[in-house]
């Protein structure tokens, strides 16, 4: 069993994203219209991929995209000019090997192949109102919105008629800069799904966004179909919404594809977003996901995540508190039952007084080739006095050679703060196991119960009881392969 725990309080480890500090001026293709000047910084592999994505977008979607979408594409392609493919030498990818994606022939999914959906077994369960996003495309015929209050907009940006909302969206689309994957999504996203909640509006029923990846290739194929779904959630002052974001593959659990997804969430003063995120992709898939959150004063953002799928799964969470008295709660659980990598990179920036944050990250690695990575950065800056920030991570390694790389790090510059963090890596408790056995419960059942209880601490935080039940049975099924492979509800 190998593991490494790194604790770092050194602010110098953090360097600003390169793309921001250096305005890109390079270009090679028709889109990148200027001659290359800083060719050193351009990664030919990245440029080729960007070009493939742009060609695909040009051939499939409207020649006149809405201005925010055009802006997103411009910003993203510019930043790709100076963004190399990440290597293990780059700190954010030190433990995360992305060569599986890099070595594949990445091909954008054609929307036509998505529209001719005949076997929709995976959708059968989607009986409750939800949006179906298949291979990155919102499919109207399979979507049904719950009843929404007046003024709420949920749909594709290209169908947005309200000028007011369009203006608001323009302001926020890509107001943040992520990494390579963020920008690739910006270039490849066919549209932006917009969720707009006007001022003071409380949306009662949860909004389900179901992302399916139905175009996949076999394990031996070099081709990797990519989809780039993108969502912007904009909740104005005092608004409230609960979002359930789910990712799934098709019926087969070993097909390969790459979902490269981005969700941006903006919360106005006093707004509240409860965000449930469930990732159960195929075990052959690459799943890269960004969640970028911007919180105005007194807003509340709660994320509950369970990720179990993917061969390579990476979730980047970036939360920025831009006003005082904000509340952020992140509860995440990652499970690697196979030859998988589950990665959470979170960054929480507290810049204003009286911020409150709680982060709990748990992971289980139940396979000798499985790996979990956690990099949890919390930055408490000078103005963020009386901040209360807590972070706790616990990892359970159930097999010899199972690996976890944990790097919790708090950077505290303000002086009047309450911050705590903890990291523990363990096997199951011998004494707890014995307690079960002393009551006649066999060791296998005892192990399962203890493992399940480890996950339960996160799972029980899903606000929606139906979601909670489904995730519970998903985890039970994964930990106990003798159960039927698809749960009946």
């Amino acid at each position: 069993m190998s593991c490494s725990t790194l604790n770092s309080y050194l602010p110098k480890l953090w360097t600003p994203p390169r793309s921001r500090s250096r305005p890109p001026r390079t270009a090679i293709t028709k889109v990148f219209a200027q001659p290359p000047i800083l060719a050193v910084l351009s990664d030919p592999h990245v440029l080729r991929l960007a070009e493939t994505l742009e060609d695909s977008i040009a051939s499939t979607s409207s020649a006149f995209p809405p201005p925010p979408l055009q802006k997103l594409r411009d910003i993203s392609s510019q930043s790709l000019l100076s963004t190399p493919w990440p290597s293990r030498k780059d700190e954010p990818f030190r433990f995360t090997d992305t060569s599986f994606i890099k070595n594949s022939d990445v091909q954008p999914v054609n929307p036509l192949s998505t529209q001719s959906l005949s076997s929709l077994g995976v959708l059968a369960e989607a009986l409750l109102p939800s949006l179906a996003i298949i291979d990155g495309y919102l499919v109207d015929s399979l979507s049904e919105l719950p009843e929404l209050p007046d003024g709420v907009f949920v749909g594709a940006l290209s169908r947005l008629n309200s000028e007011d909302i369009m203006e608001r969206v323009s302001k926020y689309v890509s107001s943040f800069q992520g990494d390579l994957f963020w920008s690739l999504n910006g270039v490849g996203a066919p549209d932006v799904i917009v969720v707009y909640v006007p001022e003071g509006c409380k949306v009662e029923s949860p909004l389900h966004l179901r992302f399916f990846s139905l175009n996949g290739t076999d394990k031996d194929s070099k081709t990797l179909p990519i989809s780039n779904p993108r969502v912007l959630v904009l909740v104005e002052k005092g608004g409230e919404i609960s979002i359930v974001e789910e990712y799934k593959g098709g019926d087969r659990n070993d097909v390969c594809y790459w979902t490269n997804s981005v969700m941006e969430i903006v919360l106005g003063d006093g707004a509240k977003v409860s965000h449930s995120y469930i990732q159960e992709q195929s075990f052959g898939a690459a799943h890269v996901k960004w969640t970028s959150v911007c919180q105005e004063c007194t807003s509340i953002y709660e994320l509950t995540e369970v990720s179990t799928g993917g061969k390579l799964s990476r979730h980047n969470v970036h939360v920025q508190q831009v006003g005082p008295d904000t509340v952020t709660e992140l509860s995440t659980f990652h499970l690697a039952i196979g030859d998988q990598l589950q990665d959470l990179h979170s960054k929480l920036v507290l810049d204003h007084p009286r911020g409150f944050s709680r982060q709990l990250h748990k992971c289980i690695v139940a396979h000798s080739l499985g790996q979990a990575v956690f990099d949890g950065n919390v930055q408490v800056n000078r103005e963020a006095q009386q901040t209360d920030a807590g972070q706790l991570t616990r990892s359970l390694l159930l097999e010899p050679r199972a690996t976890v790389n944990v790097k919790p790090n708090l950077q505290i510059i303000a002086d009047d703060v309450k911050c705590s963090h903890g990291a523990a890596i363990s096997d199951l408790e011998e004494n707890q196991l014995f307690y079960f056995r002393a009551r006649g419960i066999d060791i296998e059942a005892a192990r399962k119960a203890l493992i399940f209880s480890f996950a339960a601490e996160v799972v029980e935080r899903f606000p929606d009881s139906a979601v909670r039940k489904r995730v519970e049975s998903l985890i039970r099924r994964l930990l106990d392969p003798s159960l039927p492979s698809r749960e009946k509800e």
């Binding site: 408790e429 011998e430 004494n431 707890q432 014995f434 307690y435 079960f436 056995r437 002393a438 009551r439 006649g440 419960i441 066999d442 060791i443 059942a445 119960a449 203890l450 399940f452 209880s453 480890f454 339960a456 601490e457």
Partner: protein, 303 residues
């Protein structure tokens, strides 16, 4: 196996003798018949003269701490017949809890000599869960917390393991709730204890009650009770002792560890053993405990 017998109306009177089996036997025997028929294949029926059957025989048992190989038990001898109540007393650190844990197969200890026979079987050959299913129950001195597992789920799992062993259908959560809810009264626990996680945040007294609740739900032929009286207030002690008495039948036996006479006044022992440095150095009746209470260990020490 004697699944728990459902009557708690049985009151102990102050004058009940240690062999209280006689006057409850007739009333209780019918509840046991079904269970006895399923269990104990290697065990013949009671002797004709009514002499109690042998239940547990420990011979020259020695054990070390598995990790450090430090010897703790150094030749323990003890025989328990059906229906007997044994008390083990002794100074802190003399090995009482270790003895109890070795009986139920705790992995912290390694047996280095001697034998344990339970109902004619070699107990040392059995896994902890097999021992439990064969009717051995231990109430722990300090039961462990299990966050994330609710009390009712835990009890349900344990109860179903027992039902499976008896060839009976398992109980679903709702049926089980119906079965377990009335049992809470026995130990004076509120119903919401079922939804709390096993022992998590329980007070000392609540943990003891919870152990006895498990005993009430699961039943046992030999209950090993390690200091169920410590940390209990007077009323709680009475509750717990009453519960244990209510669970006793003429055929099942108790091995209890205690430091105080008080518990022995509620649950009358047939024998009292004094453990010292990993051995039982003296065996007698209640009078030993009385001397102990008055004069301390030096009065009965054989050194």
């Amino acid at each position: 196996m004697a699944l728990f017998t459902p009557s708690f109306s049985f009151k102990i009177s102050a004058s009940s003798s240690p062999r209280r089996c006689r006057f409850v036997k007739a009333r209780r025997s019918f509840t046991l018949r079904a269970a006895v028929a399923v269990e104990s294949p290697s065990f013949s029926s009671a002797d004709r003269d009514g002499a109690p059957k042998l239940l547990l025989e420990v011979k020259d048992l020695s054990a070390v701490i598995a990790e450090s190989k430090q010897p703790i038990l150094k030749g323990v001898n003890l025989t328990v017949h059906e229906g007997e109540v044994h008390a083990v007393m002794g100074k802190n650190g003399s090995g009482k809890s270790t003895f109890a844990k070795v009986l139920v197969g705790h992995p912290d200890y390694e047996i280095t000599g001697g034998s344990i026979t339970y109902k004619g079987q070699d107990l040392l050959e059995m896994e902890p869960e097999e021992r439990a299913l064969a009717g051995l129950f231990m109430s722990f001195q300090s039961p462990v917390e299990i966050p994330g597992v609710s009390n009712i789920d835990f009890l349900n799992m344990a109860y179903n393991a027992r039902r499976r062993k008896l060839g009976l259908p398992e109980l679903g959560p709702i049926e089980f709730y119906g079965y377990v809810a009335p049992k809470l009264e026995i130990v004076n626990m509120k119903i919401d204890f079922l939804n709390r996680n096993v022992n998590e945040g329980f007070s000392g007294g609540e943990r003891k009650r919870n152990e006895i609740l498990q005993l009430a739900v699961l039943g046992a032929e030999l209950s090993i009770l390690d200091e169920i009286d410590s940390g209990l207030d007077v009323d709680a002690l009475r509750d717990v002792a009453k519960a244990v008495n209510g669970l006793l039948t003429p055929n099942n036996s108790v091995l209890m560890i205690t430091h105080y006479l008080r518990l022995l006044e509620f649950i009358k022992p047939t024998y009292i053993h004094i453990m010292e440095n990993g051995r039982i150095v003296k065996t007698g009746d209640i009078s030993i405990a009385e001397i102990l209470e008055r004069e301390g260990y030096k009065a009965i020490s054989n050194t």
